[in-house]
């Protein structure tokens, strides 16, 4: 029983961070129709930016967070403006490829400036552990779950209530109709990329705090794909369900079956879902006419 609760906590922590990473991915896809293969690198860059502010520049935590948010927003907007804007109207293959090129570029830049060895940063999340039904659960995992939950709720409220959130949903629904209602589609595109970069930053910092700040953070980002396929590419609640499911599945496979198998199980699930229900649990089925 105690192992089970332990696994549960680890899986939920991983899962909620995955949900955060996937949220950015879904935002971009929903608003702009772009599949962003560089989402993992957004996590990576975010984690290193925060590291730079917090450790290298030695800023206080609050300022470091602000610095990270500003830089992430800037990167998101720049990427949209410089790389994705010229690609409007190209075929999906080219758009996928351009984000792959971007991921290679971002990865290389991080590697050039920070090297490949992992960096330690002072703990942000509280350490220690609590006793839950006989299992010792580290507090930082619980904190990660809490932070992810708060951020995800904030984003959901933003889409439901705020003007920009509603405008984003309108653009996702029908770009032309949104334009005729006076919504600036360009601004919404930039906003989507900025928000994606911000949610990736938060996810990246959480991963960096739980393990270490190194290149593996980008690999964590690849897991976004099973998550969004499971939940549905264009569904925000889908990312949460998908993230938690994949996180738990991975953790339970690692705990009860085989740690090696855990790295590949999300992708096996991915293929199965694509064969059975390609648009995921909450995804919208697209009907095409010529």
């Amino acid at each position: 029983m105690s192992t089970f609760i332990n696994q549960l906590a680890y899986g939920l922590a991983d899962g909620s961070i995955l949900a955060l990473a996937a949220l950015g991915f879904v935002l971009i896809y929903k608003a702009t129709g772009v599949i962003n293969f560089a989402q993992g690198e957004f996590l990576l860059v975010g984690a290193y930016m925060f590291y730079t502010a917090f450790v290298v520049l030695n800023l206080p935590l609050v300022l470091a967070v602000v610095f990270g948010l500003v830089v992430a927003t800037l990167i998101g907007v720049l990427v949209e403006r410089l790389i994705l804007r010229p690609m409007v109207g190209e075929n999906p293959i080219s758009i996928i490829m351009v984000t792959i090129g971007l991921s290679s570029l971002l990865n290389a830049l991080v590697q050039a400036f920070y090297g490949t060895s992992p960096r330690r940063q002072p703990n942000i999340l509280p350490r220690g552990s609590v006793d839950i039904l006989g299992a010792t659960v580290p507090i930082n995992r619980l904190a990660a779950i809490a932070i992810a939950a708060v951020v995800l709720t904030a984003f959901t409220l933003f889409f439901r209530k705020s003007r920009h959130g509603i405008a984003m949903r309108a653009v996702a629904d029908d770009q032309q109709a949104a334009m005729t209602m006076g919504i600036s589609v360009r601004r919404i595109f930039a906003l989507a990329w900025a928000l994606a970069a911000v949610s990736a930053l938060i996810a990246g910092v959480l991963v960096g705090d739980i393990s270490a700040v190194d290149q593996n953070i980008a690999a964590f980002g690849l897991l976004v794909f099973p998550v969004v396929i499971l939940g549905g590419l264009d569904s925000v609640p889908g990312t949460i369900i998908g993230g938690l499911t994949i996180g738990l599945l991975k953790q339970f496979t690692a705990g009860y079956l085989d740690p090696g198998l855990a790295t590949v199980i999300p992708y096996i699930v991915l293929v199965l879902i694509l064969l059975v229900r390609p648009y995921g649990i909450f995804g919208e089925t697209r009907i095409e006419r010529v």
Partner: protein
């Protein structure tokens, strides 16, 4: 379309169907053939090994372009399919004792089968979804190779005997690259010719119809599932050949040679060369294989003035790699092939602008 093709007056169907119509095209082909035949006598062993790597890459890139460029089905599973070809050929020839040519042939067929299997999601999906499906196939194949001990004798590494074709053995260091060059040149040329002619057949045409507008294609009677699966099978066959040749040429296999990065490298080749162009796949294979070498040379030259580049060579290489993909897609989405056509047109029309 290239402007050089205009102004030619065809008098028979056979002349219209010819791949090359003007004398200039025949002359260029002749010169190219001559150059290819002379290369092993001009280049030293190191550059000849680069040429061999290019020839293998040509086969793989042509195969991938059949799927991505001509059928419009993006695949991130190239690395995995290369691995299937490489490992199956190695196991069949070395451990099962089959003659190498037969092992390679079986490896090609096996890779075609595996490719078709992972192409199955493509029947219901396209574009982004298919990209993700093939990404999963890459991960799964990589995992199988790393973990299935019987297959790879643990750790995913495998040693392979020197190539031995019915008693003829590849020689030692001095002639090794040269002998391989001839083998690879023949196979790469055959692959290019086969692929080029594939798109003059009904099947090849149906691939392009699927790419351009699949629903309309179905309405005019193209069998879409058949076209999609055949595209996966044929493309994976080429990739399997490239994988098998990689195995026998390098004589050591490790799973690191077939990661997601390799899939991306091959996609970069066909993007940079030109999607939906066989010649483009060849240009792309040459360009992307030589790129790291170019950067290395450049960093040696700049080493004194800009030590940063020399210190961070692997990172710089990846950065340039990413940048090249992005710039090509934004500035010349149809790649080197289109640039080459523009150069030809420029001289064809000179001194007029158009």
């Amino acid at each position: 379309m290239a402007a050089t093709a205009t102004g030619i007056h065809h008098r028979s169907y056979s002349s219209e169907l010819r791949l090359r119509a003007t004398r200039a095209e025949y002359v260029r082909l002749g010169l190219l053939t001559l150059l290819l035949l002379l290369l092993p006598f001009i280049l030293d062993n190191y550059w000849l090994s680069q040429a061999n790597l290019i020839l293998i890459a040509v086969i793989g890139a042509v195969g991938l372009n059949i799927l991505v460029g001509y059928t419009g089905q993006i695949s991130l599973g190239q690395g995995g399919f290369l691995a299937v070809g490489a490992y199956s050929s190695a196991i069949l020839s070395d451990r099962m004792g089959l003659p190498t040519p037969i092992a390679i042939l079986l490896a090609v067929l096996l890779t075609a089968a595996v490719g078709t299997f992972f192409g199955l999601p493509g029947l219901r999906l396209k574009g982004l979804y298919l990209a993700i499906a093939t990404l999963a196939s890459q991960m799964i194949i990589e995992f199988v190779i790393r973990r299935w001990d019987w297959l790879t004798l643990g750790q995913g590494y495998l040693n392979i005997d020197r190539l031995d074709v019915f008693g003829f053995q590849i020689g030692g260091r001095a002639v090794f690259e040269q002998q391989w060059y001839w083998i690879l040149l023949v196979l790469a040329s055959l692959s290019v010719i086969t692929a080029r002619n594939l798109f003059r057949t009904g099947l090849g045409r149906s691939f392009m119809a699927v790419r351009d507008q699949d629903i309309a294609a179905e309405a005019i009677g193209v069998n879409i599932p058949r076209a999609k699966l055949m595209a996966f099978a044929i493309s994976s066959g080429f990739v399997g050949l490239a994988g098998a040749l990689t195995a026998h040429y390098s004589e050591v296999l490790s799973w690191e040679k077939f990661t997601l990065d390799v899939s991306i490298l091959y996609l970069a080749m066909i993007i940079v060369g030109g999607l939906g162009s066989i010649a483009g796949a060849v240009y792309g294979a040459i360009f992307m294989t030589l790129l790291p070498e170019l950067i290395r040379q450049l960093s040696l030259g700049l080493g004194d003035s800009v030590p940063f580049i020399a210190d961070q060579l692997p990172a710089v290489r990846n950065a340039v790699f990413g940048l090249v993909i992005i710039l090509f897609l934004i500035l010349e989405p149809r790649g080197l092939d289109r640039i080459w056509h523009r150069i030809k047109d420029y001289f064809g029309f000179w001194p007029f602008r158009y």
